[in-house]
Structures are given as structure tokens and as C-alpha cells.
Amino acid sequence: MVHLHEMPEGPRNLIVDQDLPKYPETKCKSGPKLEDRRIAIVTTAGLHRRKDKHFSPGKAEYRIIPSNTDMEDLIMSHISTNFDRTGFYRDVNVVLPHDRLVELVKRGEVGQEADFHYSFMGATPPRALEPAANELVGVLKDDNVTGVIFSPV
């Protein structure tokens, strides 16, 4: 298994002990109750539609995944070899829990699903993502999103 605690110390330390930037505290924004929120999923799994351009290392870009996409047709061009892909191979919801979100909406536990979800490729330096993230804020607001869940790999 690719559980961190089961990895040999050397490879584990390469992942855990990365030099990461520290951020000042970001004040949590308030919003409506969950049953009234509109939720978008943002994954850093490097997922995209088969027809979209692959992710490239070092480029802080994102791909749009419309909510009516056939999620079974998503492919992964993430560059890293150091995470389990067999879960995604069997069930895209392991990484992009789209079907689960739809179910929660149908149950009334979540208000709405956003019209669009988004994918980045992890392993991109965090500060390099700021321009794309700022652009995404506008896109999310245009879609009236009131909550974002981030799904890493």
C-alpha cells in the first residue's frame, strides 16, 4: 500500500519533508448552511477530458470539468509516480467524488452541484498557483459557488 507510514524512511521523507511555504492565517469566510450551498470540486490529480491538453510540469494551469462530463472518460496526466492510481483506475470517485456529490444533493444534504469542477496537477510549487487561483475565484463566483472541496492525491 502507498500509506505513508508503510513507506521506507527515505522515500517517505522525500514526500513529507518538502520545503513548503508558510502562509499567514486566512480568515475563514462564512456562508449559508450546507443544504443551501453550491459546491465545486477541485482536484490536483491532473485529471482532464481525453480531448483536453495534457498537463505539463511546472505550468500552473487548470482544466475545466463540466458537471455533465462523462466522468468515466477522464484521464490522468499527473507526472508523479508516487501515489496509488489503482483506486482511480477502478472508480473515478476515489479522486473526484462527483457521483457522491450528486447523491448528497439528491438527499438534500447539499444544496447544489456547481456547473463546473476543476483540475490542477499537484507537484506544482504552491506560490506559482496564485495567478491561476485568482482567476479561478472569478470563475467560481460566476458559477455562484459557495463552497469548494479540494481533493489531492
Binding site: 522515500p11 519533508d17 502562509y23 501515489f83 463552497g147 469548494v148 472541496i149 489531492p152
Partner: protein, 247 residues
């Protein structure tokens, strides 16, 4: 991931992240996070476990209602394993009896032979997965992919064979397509649990795995830093480096 959460929240939209590496979350302190005890690559637990995935998702989403950040909560349940899965986990083996990996001077015939032996399992897996294909990052067919990768091991000055992609990125995309074919074929036989088992088979028992190790070795000896970095990170997972030592 944590950085993105800071930027998006700062822009006015509440966020919550699934945390797989707790130390990263503790350092970067996103507004809200739910740490889960799952494998890297499986932020919502296990495949085809809708009830459990839904529980993880709902637990995380409920954190959106809190504003007392930075919040780092723990999800302490492990992925449930059914009796059928326990039975299937016993003694997974390769779906076909592949010959021992050939030497590095005869990659092409060795890999093409493996592909032909694996093709029926790939087709079966494709049917089981209702046509969902894991490969397809490139438009190259298997012959072209193998030729491209092997040609590069013989001459590092060849051109990219994927339009618009550098040679380093093209090699990676082609290699991933080849690996996805092997993995999808292997998944035709039930019971395999993880990348680790799949990796032990691919890197330890197949000629394609041997080719990946060879590509890594050549790249690591390059004078070019980007090529060396690609070699170090793109072909052999850290957990599979043991197979290099065994070669």
C-alpha cells in the same frame, strides 16, 4: 493544494481540503482541512465504496459551516474491507505467465510479446470497466510507443514523436500509456489491491518495467538537469527503487 485553498478562500469562497499528508497541512495551515488515513492517491478511501466515500465527503463539507479556522480535523475510520475483498486479496498473481524479462538489448520483441499475451486480459478488463480506457494519453499505437521508447534508449538525440510536446514530456506520456495498458490488463484479474502489488509485478517481472528502469538510468546520467530530474521522478516510483537494486 493548501496554497490554492488560501488563495480561493482569500478571494471570498469558503474552502475545505482533504489532507493526505498531515505534516504538510500543519505547516501550510489552510482554512479548513480533514485529514484522512488513506493511501496517497485515494483521498476518498476505496474504490466502489459509495457509502464510505459519501461519508468522507459529507464530513469534509460540513466543515465549511465553521469559521474558527485554521481547522484540522481527523477522519479516523479506515476503508472497510468486505469478505469478498479479503478472499480476493489472497495471492494475487500476474494474469498471464510472462516469460522472464529479456535483456536490455532486445526490448522490442520482449515487450511486444508481453503485449500480445496481455491483450486478452486488457480486452476483458475493458469490458468489465464498461469501455473505460486508462490509456490514451497519446494517439500512438502500442507498436509506435514501444518503438519510440526503445529508439530513445538507443539514441537520445531523436525527436519527439508527439506533436507539440518536448521529447522529455513525450517520452513520459508514451511511457504512461504503455504502463496503463499493462495495469489495465492486470486489473482484468480480480484481487490486486494497490499500486505496490501492481508495481512489484510491473517493475519486477516485466520487460516493460525493465525498459522503464533503463530509461531512468539513461536520464539520470544526462548532463541536462531537467532530464536528470525527469529520470529521477517520472519512471520508477520511490517504493519500486528496490527493483533497480535487484537488476
Amino acid at each position: 493544494m493548501c496554497g490554492l485553498a488560501h488563495y480561493i478562500e482569500d478571494g471570498g469562497i469558503p474552502t475545505v481540503i482533504i489532507s493526505l499528508v498531515k505534516k504538510h497541512t500543519e505547516v501550510m495551515k489552510p482554512p479548513r482541512a480533514l485529514h484522512v488515513p488513506f493511501e496517497l492517491g485515494r483521498p476518498f478511501g476505496g474504490a466502489n465504496k459509495p457509502e464510505f466515500q459519501r461519508k468522507v465527503l459529507l464530513t469534509a463539507l460540513k466543515l465549511l459551516e465553521r469559521t474558527d479556522g485554521p481547522i484540522l480535523e481527523n477522519f479516523n475510520e479506515n476503508v472497510p474491507i468486505s469478505p469478498d475483498e479479503i478472499d480476493a486479496q489472497e495471492g494475487w498473481s500476474c494474469p498471464v505467465n510472462l516469460p522472464n524479462p529479456v535483456s536490455t538489448d532486445n526490448f522490442t520483441s520482449g515487450i511486444m510479446n508481453e503485449i500480445s499475451l496481455l491483450q486478452p486480459w486488457y480486452d476483458h478488463s475493458l469490458k468489465e470497466m464498461k469501455g473505460r480506457k486508462l490509456d490514451g494519453l497519446t494517439s500512438l499505437n502500442k507498436d509506435q510507443i514501444v518503438k519510440f521508447l526503445v529508439d530513445w534508449t538507443n539514441d537520445q538525440n531523436i525527436k519527439s514523436r508527439i506533436e507539440g510536446e518536448s521529447i522529455i514530456r513525450a517520452l513520459k506520456l508514451a511511457a504512461d500509456d504503455l504502463r496503463h495498458f499493462y495495469y489495465q490488463a492486470a486489473m482484468g484479474k480480480p484481487g490486486i489491491r494497490s499500486d505496490l502489488e501492481m508495481g512489484d509485478w510491473f517493475y519486477g517481472q516485466t520487460t516493460a518495467g525493465l525498459l522503464f528502469i533503463e530509461i531512468r538510468k539513461i536520464m539520470m546520467e544526462s548532463d541536462d538537469e531537467i532530464t536528470r530530474m525527469a529520470g529521477r521522478t517520472n519512471y520508477v516510483p520511490n517504493a519500486m527503487l528496490k527493483h533497480i537494486e535487484n537488476k
